[in-house]
């Protein structure tokens, strides 16, 4: 089997696992999923080997070539993201399977597998309509996961999430309609030949950008996120915050790079950057004000998403050096946040379970009784704050240098001020946890596997800062060099 054909197995394995876990009785689903995980890694290994050997892989599904058929494209970025997805999902699955949940939430498993299929589909698609299908599958699976608890709060969060997701994908679909009318093709590669200054293309890109920002929960369109991410089961929150919001961001990034010839793009990019700055400050401020631990972590996601959107002002109309630094910094930020935030949500889930309360004020004394969970939370916090040697630090450092190289110093304020704000809310949690003389003397123990899953994710976000170089070199696209030549 060649590497190109193996690409489709990255979609087939999770889809089959989803159907199998749906048909299986509830108590088999968790352990069955853990047994299916190695298959997914087994599908990924030959793909990665083929990519390292021969570069970007392309598979026309079923032998039909575009425009009628659908091509899967495994470039460095896509395979890096597939690897991230597999890593985060494996640890979240371990956490969820180890969880001695008194209520039956076994529907988590088929939905999570559908989620993984949708994510892999989005990373590997080279076609704007296939991306739409991926977005919808992702949205429906994510809404199902949010609604899983069945409480009034969970259902309201799921409903709000669903409405936002539907509106976002419809705006995206209308953009697809306009792009197809303009280009006569749906392949991202063909869209690069469009004239960026054309009105149809502009309207299409604007609609798609707004829809995708709504799905990524960029400030001020983030209203649906805190309740959806803060109220879900810990493993679900981790998957949603680490991976799902990144999918729509990556689509926007790919579209932006494909349709970059517009002279108005600089203005639009600065506007998007301003929204990102708003997200960093508003999300950080709201995170600090939360009384419930998981809502604090959810608002922290709103803030961290803001950094990703600094990509647009830093790469549009700037020089080669600034653009390359912005690309590396943004992707590293995405990876570091995914690992750190998944670790933080799992650790928060363990802490909430240990004290039996969702309130931050009730954490008093937990530092002595569950040091491992608190340690994981703290290590993940190091990356969220952007302290060395974490991935978050290196990412901010690259973005900082990019801002300096392009002479856009106002973004420095955002990068530094955001770091300070995140320190404030992370230390708020630690301060409560280290309070001595707890008001309670019974702490429940989360399973060791669940604590280790959180710790592994947090540690990998820490190590990422040192080990990022090779990863970033692999993900730097050929397409970027073309963009850079145009910009430089």
């Amino acid at each position: 089997m060649s590497g190109g054909e193996a690409l489709s197995w990255l979609l087939v394995v999770p889809l089959l696992a989803a159907i199998a876990t749906l048909l299986a009785p509830g108590r088999w689903r968790g352990w069955g999923s853990l047994a299916a995980l190695p298959l997914l890694w087994l599908a990924f290994t030959p793909v990665l080997a083929a990519f390292l050997h021969q570069g970007t892989l392309t598979t026309p599904l079923g032998g039909w070539s575009p425009p009628l058929g659908i091509a899967l494209i495994g470039d460095g970025l896509a395979l890096g993201l597939v690897g991230l997805t597999l890593g985060v999902f494996s640890l979240c699955a371990l956490f969820a399977a180890a969880d001695p949940d008194p209520e039956d939430h076994s529907h988590l498993w088929p939905l999570a597998w559908f989620l993984i299929a949708a994510l892999n589909g989005i990373w590997l698609s080279g076609d704007v309509f296939n991306l739409y299908v991926g977005l919808e599958l992702l949205g429906l699976a994510a809404v199902g996961l949010v609604a899983l608890k069945g409480s009034a709060e969970a259902l309201a969060a799921a409903m709000r999430y669903l409405l936002a997701a539907l509106l976002g994908s419809l705006a995206y679909l209308i953009g697809v309609a306009l792009l197809y009318a303009a280009a006569g093709s749906l392949a991202l590669a063909d869209l690069a030949q469009l004239d960026g200054g054309d009105t149809t293309v502009r309207v299409a890109l604007a609609l798609m950008a707004v829809g995708l920002m709504l799905k990524t929960a960029l400030f001020p369109l983030h209203g649906w996120l805190p309740a959806a991410h803060g109220g879900a089961l810990p493993a679900v929150s981790a998957l949603l915050s680490a991976l799902v919001v990144k999918a729509s961001f990556i689509i926007l990034l790919r579209l932006w790079l494909a349709l970059d010839a517009d002279p108005l793009a600089v203005v639009a990019a600065q506007a998007i950057g301003l929204l990102g700055a708003g997200a960093v400050f508003w999300g950080g401020w709201m995170a600090w004000r939360q009384a419930r631990l998981k809502y604090l972590v959810a608002y922290s996601t709103v803030a961290q998403i803001g950094y990703l959107f600094l990509f647009f002002p830093l790469i549009t109309g700037t020089g080669t050096d600034a653009a390359r630094l912005a690309w590396d910094g943004t992707l590293l930020m995405l990876f570091a946040h995914a690992l750190a935030k998944a670790g933080m949500f799992l650790a928060a889930g363990n802490l909430v379970r240990a004290v039996g309360s969702a309130q931050i004020a009730d954490l008093a004394g937990v530092g002595r009784f569950r040091p491992l969970s608190l340690l994981s939370f703290g290590i993940a916090g190091v990356s969220i704050m952007g302290l060395p040697p974490s991935g978050g630090f290196t990412a901010k450092w690259l973005l900082l240098q990019s801002a300096l190289a392009s002479g856009q110093w106002p973004w420095l304020i955002v990068l530094m001020g955001g770091g300070l704000l995140s320190a404030v809310y992370v230390f708020k949690v630690l301060r409560h946890a280290f309070v001595e003389g707890p008001t309670r003397d019974t702490f429940r123990s989360p399973p060791t596997a669940a604590e280790l899953a959180a710790l592994t994710l947090a540690l990998s976000s820490l190590v990422l800062g040192v080990a990022a170089h090779g990863l970033l070199a692999l993900m730097r696209p050929d397409a970027l060099s073309a963009v850079l030549e145009g910009a430089g």
Binding site: E136, G144, A147, A152, L155, R160, L163, A177
Partner: protein
């Protein structure tokens, strides 16, 4: 104006109408219907605009078929969540709705 372009404009009008309903109404059933109207509008736009001056084109028609399946699935999920929400809370709109 060709027939295809006429359909495309009708699609734009339906999208606008649906978006208006989606924003104005708080009742979840109405918002869901508004979403479906927007969906139909975007399908008309997709087929009409692509075929304007180029004749019948199988690609957008295949896309719309896929789109309809997705719209039906999303509507079904929304209805299930809506029914559950109504049963648990007795409300037909979301709290502190914007």
């Amino acid at each position: 104006m060709s027939t295809d372009l006429f359909f495309a404009w009708i699609g734009v009008a339906l999208c606008g109408l649906g978006l208006f309903g989606f924003i104005v109404h708080h009742h979840l059933m109405r918002r869901l219907l508004a979403f479906n109207i927007m969906g139909s509008g975007s399908f008309l736009l997709l087929v009409g605009l692509a075929q304007d001056g180029r004749g019948p084109d199988p690609v957008p028609q295949a896309l719309v078929l896929t789109g309809i399946v997705i719209a039906v699935a999303s509507t079904a999920l929304a209805l299930v969540v809506l029914r559950r929400w109504y049963r648990v809370s007795g409300e037909s709109s979301l709290p502190e709705d914007v």
